[in-house]
């Protein structure tokens, strides 16, 4: 690394590295500092850290959206006299939100402390807001789904005197799920965006729309799978709207990003996942609109849309995590925006000063 006139007397350097047993992701074996003057890093090591979120969180993003969207479909079914759609969507909503909550708790470092989430109500934390949203929604969805199951089993659930109360709460609970369903689907966009993870943060204006669209797609997919075709007309329309919304927000998001922030969405496993998500979304939505009148075709397109939505969420999650691991995605966009501000004559907001 140094250059001095004594260098010529040194023995030739043996190539470094090649040892096994090193963590592949610590970036410690990257090229030494300052190879290219436009981008330097500290031995290629990450500048920011991604949250320790595994695919459970990806699953939650998907399931929460599915639950929110299904709740809206069930309310629509209620208002337009589609009882089967209403029932199935209610059951889907509770099942999804239950599984999603379990995934969320499982991913905590100290799962036994999950209730600590409800110690505070903290608007500065999307995680806190989301927890309150999720717990209120789950409570309401629990009521409507239990009522549905009670009806399905011919009022044989051992509810005792609670039955009257529960059935009385059905209306308010339904109102609750209809109000909370959509925010439950879109808040996860803010949850990911409110981080220093380059790719998520750069998508802060589009992720909520992307996730709301993806949730609509998943909910209509689930309705197509569970419900006979004569009651799924609205779900078929929604699948088209959801697919268009998802594809458009993804495109706009990538376009507005710095290239170094967008590239994790196109490279490696996350890139593959998002590519397949797009294919499944288009195929599923097209199948649902064109062939959704036939039961088997409806089920197949529904499954494709569900898979597409799940892949979108896991793909975005993993792309963000990948973007945190390479300092290029952090340093390049930050330098670019700093330069842009300086070019405009704004020099008072830099963290680097000379006095």
């Amino acid at each position: 690394m140094t250059t001095s006139r004594h260098d010529s007397h040194r023995p030739p350097e043996t190539p470094r590295g090649g040892k096994k047993g090193r963590k592949a992701d610590d970036g410690a074996r990257e090229i030494p500092v300052v190879e290219k003057p436009e981008f330097s890093s500290y031995y290629g090591r990450p500048v920011v850290k991604a949250p320790p979120w595994g695919d459970e969180i990806g699953a939650y993003l998907f399931l929460g959206g599915l639950a929110g969207g299904s709740a809206l479909l069930s309310v629509g079914g209620q208002l337009t006299g589609k009882p089967t759609l209403q029932r199935n969507a209610r059951l889907t909503a509770l099942g999804a939100v239950g599984l999603g909550t379990a995934a969320l708790i499982h991913d905590l470092g100290r799962p036994e402390r999950f209730l600590y989430m409800l110690r505070t109500f903290k608007p500065t934390s999307p995680m806190s807001m989301g927890t309150w949203l999720l717990s209120s929604f789950s409570t309401a969805a629990g009521v409507t789904a239990t009522v549905e199951i009670d009806r399905l089993t011919g009022y044989r659930l051992p509810l005792g005197p609670g039955r009257k109360l529960l059935h009385g709460l059905e209306g308010p609970a339904e109102l609750g799920t209809s109000l909370l369903g959509a925010p439950l689907a879109s808040y996860t966009g803010a949850l990911l965006a409110d981080t220093a993870v380059p790719t998520w943060n750069a998508g802060r204006d589009e992720l909520p729309y992307l996730f709301a669209s993806s949730a609509s797609l998943a909910a209509s997919g689930a309705a197509l799978v569970t419900t006979p075709t004569h009651q799924t007309q609205p779900a078929r329309v929604l699948s088209a709207v959801g697919a268009i919304g998802e594809l458009a927000s993804m495109k706009i998001m990538k376009k507005r990003m710095h290239p170094a922030e967008a590239s994790p969405l196109e490279e490696g496993t996350p890139g593959k996942m998002l590519e397949w998500a797009e294919r499944l979304t288009i195929a599923g939505a097209a199948g649902s609109v064109l062939l959704g009148g036939r039961r088997t075709a409806a089920v197949a397109s529904g499954l494709m849309m569900l898979a597409g939505s799940a892949l979108t969420r896991v793909g975005i999650l993993r792309a963000g995590i990948a973007s945190a691991k390479d300092p290029r995605h952090t340093v390049e966009p930050q330098k670019a925006r700093l330069q842009k501000r300086r070019a405009k004559g704004v020099v008072d907001d830099s963290i680097t000063t000379v006095g």
């Binding site: 920011v48 991913d107 802060r204 300086r342």
Partner: protein
């Protein structure tokens, strides 16, 4: 638009009569000798578990790697050649030319004040940058803002600390930090092998599964002590004191170095208008921040949160409208 970042002044005032003036570090990397005494003192005092597998990282003398759940001080080593020194000197000079908050008149106390020669030996052929990195204890702390349990809080000294008995390890703070400092203590912990469990090398791992970072030695501060790293630093590269003192010392020092022709010197975190509202750990660097692994333009994500909430609400309304429209259209057909 309303701000959603935490107001550190109000948080400190919440401590009532125990509230004190904000405490800070000033890390002057121009006099760091890379002895890593701060790393050792920090580990010892805070009883942090071993990080990594004692391997050599092939990054000069840095075999620690980075800040993390178990490493709260990290000394960076960068080797640079003549060309790179010139570049750094030039980039520092450009900062002055930009007309930024500039180098003031030479402070009276500097320039060989008490007869000692404070000029650094200037080797033109190569240099070694050494810098002890630490949690920035930001004025607008991303980790604190996004913590859903309230485990992260502003102490009576204006620093940011995790309450280990409250943190449930959700990991949100890890992504919230623009500097990649805080981390959940669960990955990469090296456990003693079963057969070695009885040996003196077996380690107890406290606070597993929770977020961990520099506490600013809160337990020492409440006793009127200096944080372990600053206490042990043999060259006073790590200075500790009241925030305003630290910033003015940093300003004096950078002016002094510029006077001596070291235009590569610059401050990091001393500007209250930056993306994190200034840091509680001010650094004097001798090259661009990214060379030391620091972000060149960090911004606390919560600054944009009101806008994100707005987008979230609009997306939710859009979704409601889409479902409504679907039932209208789907019902008609």
């Amino acid at each position: 638009m309303v701000s959603l970042t935490e107001d550190p002044r109000r948080s400190s005032e919440a401590h009532g009569h125990r509230a004190q003036a904000r405490k800070s570090f000033f890390t002057d990397t121009s006099i760091c000798i890379g002895c890593k005494a701060c790393e050792v003192a920090c580990k010892e005092w805070n009883r942090n578990p071993q990080d990594g597998d004692l391997e050599l990282l092939e990054s000069s003398y840095d075999n620690t790697g980075a800040l993390g759940a178990n490493t709260w001080r990290h000394v960076a080593f960068v080797e640079q050649d003549q060309e790179r020194i010139e570049t750094a000197r030039e980039s520092g000079r450009q900062l002055v030319d930009l007309g930024m908050p500039s180098v003031g008149p030479p402070p009276s106390s500097s320039a060989n004040g008490n007869g000692t020669d404070t000029k650094l030996p200037d080797t033109n052929e190569f240099r070694w940058l050494m810098s002890s990195d630490v949690c920035k204890h930001c004025t607008h702390a991303g980790c604190l803002d996004v913590c859903p349990t309230g485990a992260l809080y502003r102490t009576e000294f204006g620093t940011v600390k995790v309450q280990e008995d409250i943190c449930n390890g959700c990991g949100t703070c890890v992504g919230g930090c623009p500097f990649g400092v805080i981390e959940r203590r669960d990955e990469g912990i090296i456990r003693a092998k079963t057969e070695r469990n009885q040996s003196k090398y077996a380690q107890e791992i406290p606070n597993e599964g929770t977020a961990n970072k520099c506490t600013f030695c809160h337990d020492r501060l409440v006793d009127g002590q200096t944080p372990a790293c600053a206490q042990t630093c043999p060259t006073t590269s790590i200075k500790f004191g009241e925030h305003t003192d630290m910033v003015s010392q940093a300003r004096e020092r950078v002016a002094q170095l510029h006077q001596q022709g070291m235009t590569e010197a610059r401050l990091y975190g001393a500007n209250p208008n930056d993306g994190v509202g200034g840091t509680g750990s001010v650094f004097l660097l001798l090259d661009e921040p990214e060379v030391y692994g620091l972000p060149p333009d960090p911004r606390v994500p919560t600054k944009d949160l009101p806008r994100m909430y707005k987008q979230t609400a609009m997306a939710a309304v859009g979704m409601l409208a889409a479902v409504g429209a679907s039932f209208v259209l789907g019902g008609r057909r």
